[in-house]
């Protein structure tokens, strides 16, 4: 039988460490400084939201943690190991959803374990567990084209969890959904996270979403990106979008956020 959660919960263990990250995109004609001296430490099983105005460089930062992009300067450590390239210890959920269109829901979810050479029986069990967890039982054999936006992103989340990674990175996963489906997905993700604790880095430009989900919000400045302020969110979960403490915090953070045109 596949073990539901093999990870021991030790709240104070350091999981992710970003030290002095700088990133400049160089082209023939100009150079664009996107991230300047960014530092962050994330503990195991913490849910951290990187929040900032549009186009401020949040995705670039997440890509560096994922190993998809190299920092110009500085290092990222996960579990003490320096990150140079993508790896199975980090699951990623993309803004564009990015499912494999030629694979079924099951095929998408079991892709990671398959590549890692997990035996078929265990792989199927594990995939089924996560498909059930995201509420897609009955859709295992469907292809992505047949799914709605919200359902597709559920597959994306199940796929990220299925490799049993230490860290899950989510890049504006609900940005393309309409407001109502977004509320639904936020509630679902909150349930999944309370059941399956992981270290999570979640990028968004939606302040409601940030406060609803986060243990801690890291407010970023506009380009070049660096930390402006941090907020520990200690409102009891699940949270109420219209409670007075929620709205007060929302205003406070919105006022602190840099303006873009």
């Amino acid at each position: 039988m596949f073990m539901e959660n093999t990870r021991t919960v030790t709240m104070d263990k350091l999981m992710i460490k970003c030290s002095n990250i700088c990133k400049t995109f160089e082209s023939k004609h100009d150079s664009n400084e996107v991230i300047r001296d960014f530092n962050l430490e994330i503990k195991e099983n913490e849910f951290v939201v990187l929040f900032g105005p549009g186009q401020c460089g949040k995705t670039t930062l997440l890509n560096i943690i994922a190993g998809l992009e190299q920092a110009t300067m500085g290092q990222v450590f996960i579990n003490g190991h320096e990150i140079k390239e993508p790896g199975p210890d980090r699951g990623m959920v993309y803004q564009t959803i990015a499912l494999f269109p030629w694979l079924t829901v099951m095929g998408n979810v079991e892709f990671g374990p398959k590549v890692l050479g997990v035996k078929k029986k265990e792989r199927k069990e594990r995939s089924q567990y996560y498909i059930d967890l995201v509420g897609l039982q009955g859709y295992e054999k469907h292809f992505p084209v047949k799914l709605s936006g919200g359902m597709s992103q559920r597959v994306g989340i199940a796929r990220a969890y299925c490799n049993n990674p230490a860290v899950i990175l989510l890049d504006e996963p609900f940005g393309h959904l309409d407001a109502q489906t977004r509320y639904l997905m936020e509630e679902e993700l909150e349930k999944i996270c309370s059941k399956e604790r992981r270290t999570i880095v979640f990028v968004t430009n939606n302040i409601e979403e940030a406060i609803y989900l986060a243990d801690r919000i890291v407010l970023l400045t506009n380009c070049p990106t660096t930390t402006k302020k941090e907020y520990i969110i200690d409102i009891q979960k699940p949270r109420d979008y219209t409670s007075s403490e929620f709205l007060k915090l929302r205003k406070e953070i919105t006022n602190e956020t840099d303006q873009t045109i």
């Binding site: 549009g54 407001a179 509630e187 430009n205 409601e208 709205l247």
Partner: protein
């Protein structure tokens, strides 16, 4: 069917008169066997800001497209200022969900497009374009092409184009759905300012309940297919509104309860 009394209550905004600008009677529309709009009737007062909300996929866009007769309708009557709606005769501006700018035209050419079609003289066109481009703050960008602009700027181009024809009726289909929150706040406030300045009647479709409560004088809550009017709520919260205000939260929760499916 909505009673006249509900309509007369309208809003306390100085812009709004009690006379109906738009009258919709028994609007019905189906695609094949699928009934989408089921005998919908309502009025909109002159100068009123009406928001229409409903569950995802309930047919809000079909609603607006049927209203303007961009779609053929099965049954019903739509009057604007007492005459059957006619996109050629009436001054109606429609802002679509996508940024429907024309990529081969510069900002100012996009903005003047409607005016040229309507055959205004160059003098009037220049005056109007200067005015609306100033209103949305794009003076510096009038010679740019759409692809050189950010999403919020494109949305402003579209808004400027809509206001250039000095519409009597402005229809907006989820115009801010794809923008991030900070930009949305900003454009919402800009829209309210323009609305107050010009006194235009607005029908604004949105998924977002908070947005509807923030903007509207009145909210129509729709049911899922077939679409009917579930509730007609008057929103008399004083402007500028505050999302944390208790009246605001109360109305927001009320509308949420009416359409919550998630």
């Amino acid at each position: 069917m909505m009673s006249v009394q509900t309509i007369m209550k309208g809003s306390k905004c100085s812009n709004v008169s009690s006379e109906a600008s738009v009258v919709v009677k028994n609007l019905t529309k189906s695609f094949g066997n699928l009934l989408v709009l089921d005998d919908v009737s309502f009025n909109v007062c002159r100068g009123e800001f009406l928001c229409i909300v409903g569950p995802t996929g309930c047919g809000k866009t079909t609603f607006l497209n049927s209203l303007t007769k961009l779609y053929n309708i099965d049954k019903g009557e739509i009057l604007v200022e007492d005459k059957p709606i006619d996109l050629k005769k009436h001054n109606i501006a429609y802002i679509f969900q996508e940024y429907s700018t024309m990529p081969w035209l510069k900002v100012e050419e996009n903005v003047s497009f409607g005016l040229r079609i309507k055959g205004y003289s160059e003098d009037v066109i220049k005056k109007r374009v200067d005015k609306v481009i100033g209103m949305v703050g794009l003076e510096k960008y009038r010679h740019y092409y759409p692809k050189q602009l950010s999403a919020s700027m494109l949305q402003r181009v579209v808004i400027a184009r809509a206001f250039a024809i000095e519409p009597e009726l402005l229809l907006m289909d989820e115009p801010y759905g794809q923008l991030d929150l900070q930009l949305r706040y900003k454009l919402e406030d800009e829209l309210l300012r323009l609305w107050e300045e010009t006194g235009v009647t607005v029908i604004f479709i949105t998924h977002n309940i908070e947005e509807a409560v923030y903007l509207s004088d009145r909210i129509l809550v729709l049911t899922n297919k077939p679409t009917k009017i579930k509730e007609d709520l008057v929103n008399e919260l004083p402007r500028p509104r505050d999302i944390a205000d208790s009246g605001f939260v109360e109305l927001r929760n009320k509308v949420t309860d009416l359409i919550k499916w998630w």
